[in-house]
Amino acid sequence: MRFSGKPRRGKRGVGSIIGATFIALILLSGFTFYTLVLSIIEHYNRTTDTMGELDWNRNREKLNIKDVKITGANKLNVTVENVGSVSSRLLWLGIFNKSMTPEAQGYYSLAEQVEPAETRSIISDFTVVKGNKYVVQLVTDLGNVFENKFYPASEVRCALTLVSVSPTAYQGNNITMFLTVTHNDTEVDTIQNITVGLQATPPGLVSVREQPSSLTIESLGRGQSAFFRWVYNTTGTGVVSFNATYDQAPIGTYFLSTVDILAPPAAGGQSTVTIDGKNCTAPYNPSQWTLLGSTAYISGSVSDLTDNDSNYAIFRSYYTGTNADINDFVDNNSSNVDGFANRGTHSNFTAMQYGPDGIMDTLKEVDTSLGGVEQWVLPTGFDDPGGVWSTETNAYDNDTGTRASCSVPPNSWSNYLVLNHSVIICSKIRYYIGRSQTDLSQVQIDIYNGSWVNVYSGAGTWETYTNVSFTGTSVTQMRFRFYNSHGVQSRTAYVYEGHFLQSLPSPAYVLDLEVQWSGVDLSQTNEWLCIYGGTMASESLLVDAWNGSAWNNVFASLLSGWNNVSVSTYLVASNFTIRFRDANPSGPTQSNWNIDVSLLHLWAAAIDQYTAEVEFVGSSNVQIWTQLVWQISSAWDVGAVNVTIQFYNYALGSYATSGDGYVSYVSTSSANTNELKNQTITSNPTDFKNSTGYWRVRIKGVKATSTQFLLKANWIDFETSYSSTGASVPYKAWQRYTIMATTATGDRIPYAYVSIYANGTSVVFRNATDGTPISNPGWVRLDANGELQLELQSTNGTAEAFVLSAVVGSVLGQKTITQEAP
């Protein structure tokens, strides 16, 4: 029992242990798996949290591009402010050039950290171009993109506001102009440079006292405004319109404001002295010159032309006489004016186009004959009028073994066998005939030279060549017939061969060669054909000239050396043709002639002449002229020069040829004498300047002389007159003012003495009525109307503002005047 009971209890325990072990292993594996899953989920959650935080931060990130500018080095200066609640790390700076098509895009890496509330400026490494449209982009580490459209002023319509303080002012008081430029465009974020301007119309009523230190702002962000301030002094009375705008502003972007300037009230019943500008006469001189033709500069400068003194700009004339002496060499040998082809040859036609230099063109005759010989020629065809002959072509196949044949009836003549040829000179034929019996007792042979001519009748010679001679003539045919004397039987006649002896003429050497000139100058008085001959043949060489319809002999026999003859009679067209021909056109021997050169010598009697011509150019103003007065003083180092002075009329587009702007004269017979010419133009004087105020005058002197002469330009003055308030006067201009004294009730004060003074550096006065000088300061009496017509001139080397004061009694009148730069 114990033996069997113990093992049974022990085995049960082992199985349980094993099972429990496996269960434990399985549970352990499951726990491990669970732990792993938890770890994975936890890691995933951490990642999700991280990315969620990134998204959260991204939403909280906010940057403001406060300003964009272009630096002096043309680099981009971007000012950015972090207005968000997280730090921003800038990764990329993008720049897009919208002015290009397609637009250019570029990104440049950054490593900038901008903390919350921090403002940072970023200077680009690259350069940009002012005036281009750019989009600036900042890219952050969190994935946000911030853009700024940075456009030039021409692309933006800003709001302008111009306020005048006060809108009404008394003359002499100051007015202040406030300009506000507001960037209220909804598309553009930042405007590049804006340069504002303020223009007063008319300009003479006010003068600038103060103006902004800078009229340019480098950039203007959206919603921002820029402010500018001017102070003007009112110098005249009337309504002044101020127009404010900015450079390259879109059309219609401006603001107008008007100021009414009133005459100051008479304070406490005082008298008044007023100074009103009337008109201005501004003189100008040339600033440069241009030499025309071959005129040469000798000495002097444009500064010598500003005064009528003894200083000159001197120019030397050039030869313009007519001394034409033309050797026009023959041009070609390809003409055919008479319709007959050239006969003969040139060995070297080019040689005839130069020289004389010993290089010859040999003209050689050509043989127009066939060589001067006789030859037997075969007929080229036949006729068989009776249709009785057979194998007719055998009669001219140059073979005596073959024949044409014909049956001849008894006691009858046969029909003709006719052999043909084109016309030839012929004085002999030969035949080779045969017969079946001797009953063919007679033979008749004829030739045709326009009619049939019998050249042989008789018993004939049989079975051999036999010649028949006759007087030479032009022959086209021969014919044969035979007579059968048998009384009852027919007989057969044979023609083996029939030949013509062609007589060729003797050699006939001919020369007929055309040569031609083209583009001949027909204006010269003398027109000669000149041919230089070399070795000549014994046979004469003739030269004919073609007059357009026929040949005319000009040389009956060319000689060695020069052969010259006038051809004016025949030279009627620019193409001129001659021909070389031999004296004996059918000579038996060939002749050669050497020609060195063929030319037309064209000339006229010489007329010596010299010309000097110079164009002077100067600037002036763009006012509307009421009058133009020009004065030119010049001299010549010889007398009696034909002089023409012409101003350029821009309305006509050419130099004046008569009337205004034109003077023509013969200079004095005394050399080196200044002569002053002038002209006052009141009809359309502005025709004599271009849109920018430039003017031109041309001085030309011509004299028929063999001596070169000089043009001595002394003074060129171009005075323009125009209406002007006198607030601004050009350098050296005479500005006219009316100074008037009135009582408190507005009555004129006649004959009152006025003390006048201008505090400019170089100001002089003169009486506008009679031109008499007035000292500065001066003491002058007013006229019966209580007025003084004063002219003022300022010649300071630079622009200058000064005050013209006029005092009558204790009453002061003043006017601020600005002299323009020279």
Partner: protein
Amino acid sequence: MHNALFHNKKGVSEVIASLILILIVSVAGVIVYSYSLGAFNSSSTFLQSQTSNEEERTQERFSIIVVWWSTSNQLNLTVLNYGRIEVAIDAVYVNGTAVSVFLSGKGITVGAGQLVWVKFTSPFSILSGNVHEILAVSERGGKNAVFWKA
């Protein structure tokens, strides 16, 4: 002893039965354990893989920050990777039409904070002034779309 062993057949069968039971239990235990290990392993591998893919997708962020147009039919997308993992653009759609002709940039992997330029030919003509929806798709399936006015 000999009799007890060879004549007491009831006792022998108990031993054998016990051994057999032990054997059965052991084999069954091995089988069940092996199966459970395999199931755990495959489950954990699958879970790990799925979670890893999802995690990568979660880390991926990219954005089309500007579009360039050649004025003919060529377009260029500037794509910023602002995620925490590298990204590669795999496909682009213009107004829902897939781009088939890529000139550059497709499949190029860029790291975090980097830009990639994807240049391609539009599947249809671009007309100035028209607005187009451009959708970029990464190799992980991430998307970013912009409305761009030509």
